[in-house]
Symmetry: C7
Subunit: 94 residues, 7 copies
């Protein structure tokens, strides 16, 4: 299991085909360039000047759209995850 | 439905022809480069140093002019949306 | 009508000929490069760290000189406006 | 008359010949590149995070040395002024 | 022994083979480019504007994934360590 | 006399030969590139967010070493001065 | 003697051979590129927004590892020192 640090979020990317069911079709159909995924884990949140943390606006299980090319890819066993900062998440798909 | 995060806003772009009715004609008539649109959803607002949020100055239904080339395009079903940060919105068209 | 957001200001550019009457002659007489104009609308003002807004120093009707190449041009009907940030305004012409 | 905005200052450039009387000779004798001038008007001062303004350290009539290439030139009638930010002023010549 | 300063962390890199046991396989199998390691020492933590320190989120013995190319390599006797800033650590492997 | 503004300091450069007496020999013996000098005048000090000033750590008469290429040269009569910001001063030579 | 200003530290570089005794061997054996040294003097510490100073984490006599290429070299008599900012120091060698 990956426990992200600070304002980071761990996401499992959703490839193109699945997205049509949930209604989101990425403007570019290349598998690799999907910028949609499901939140797997969230960190402690962004650190403020006064030392307190900001509760992340996304939670485990949320489907989200994020900035293309954001984050770092990590493989755990057969699973591939993307670790990015919350600021790279554009919106939650409701 | 897209729920934008933080200071982001979801906009549905208005192409050139419609703009003449509302009086705004973009200086460049190319369809793609229209920088006018209608606000579809607003986020929780910009985060301040003290952790509070700033109420967005735009609301659902507002017609707005925004910086060219700003934001990320996302397709949902047949609809195309632009997710940009509130700071990229120049003015509301009243 | 354009209602600017935050620290933005809407300006109607004043071309070269008129400026000689008011005494301001831009060092470069090209029509396009005039950096003088009249304030048409002001936004809510610059946002401070504590969430309050700073009252803009310019008001509707002021004649101002601004940084060259600043702002974004928008046409509304036959009128051409420039939307720029207050920080790009150099001085008020009294 | 030009009323500068915020932390800006309006200066009337002093060309090379006059400077020898006051003792300041710019290391490069080219007329254009003089970086000495007299303060004609000061703005409301630099804005702080808490919204208050900092009293400018220069006042009308002060002779000052400023960073080369700083500011924007504006002609008013036959007079040529330089509008620059107070941070570009290096020292007052006493 | 290396005592890191401020928000820095000392890490002992874990090469590719060992990672398969703990489940983490780096997407690129090159030995050199492993971005997984064990925390050997943590500094006093990030300094805030008010002068207080933020307790580091990682501790000695944690297995972590970090940004590629981050940090500076230092050899102590036969051991090779990486000194990087806590902000370059993406997640703890639990 | 030059009265520096804000966090600026006026320095009279000390050329290479004199430096050997005081023990400081610049690693590069070129006359022009000396980065040692004597403080001639200090400004009001660095401005903080809350509007107060920080007392400069150097005073008139101090011999100092400063960053190479820092500051702006100004001639006053036959004297040549360097106006730089206090942050460019590395150390006082005691 | 060199008294560093603000958050600066004066270091005497330790060349490669000596380092093996203390256990630290720089990954690159070139004499010039050693990034290990002994602290000779510390400044008043980093300045915070509220005007107070942060006590430096290193003290005279500490052996430290620092960022390569950091700082400015100064010769005093036959001794060569490096003046760098505390933020460039990675760790204390205990």
């Amino acid at each position: 299991m990956l426990k992200p640090i600070g304002n980071r979020v761990v996401i499992k990317k959703i490839e193109q085909e699945q997205t049509t069911k949930s209604g989101i079709v990425l403007t570019d159909s290349a598998k690799e360039k999907s910028n949609e995924g499901e939140v797997v884990a969230v960190g402690s949140g962004q650190l403020l000047d006064n030392g307190s943390r900001v509760e992340p606006e996304v939670k485990e299980g949320d489907k989200v759209v994020f900035q293309e090319y954001a984050g770092t890819e990590v493989k755990q066993g057969d699973d591939k995850y993307l670790i990015l900062s919350e600021a790279d998440i554009l919106a939650v798909i409701q």
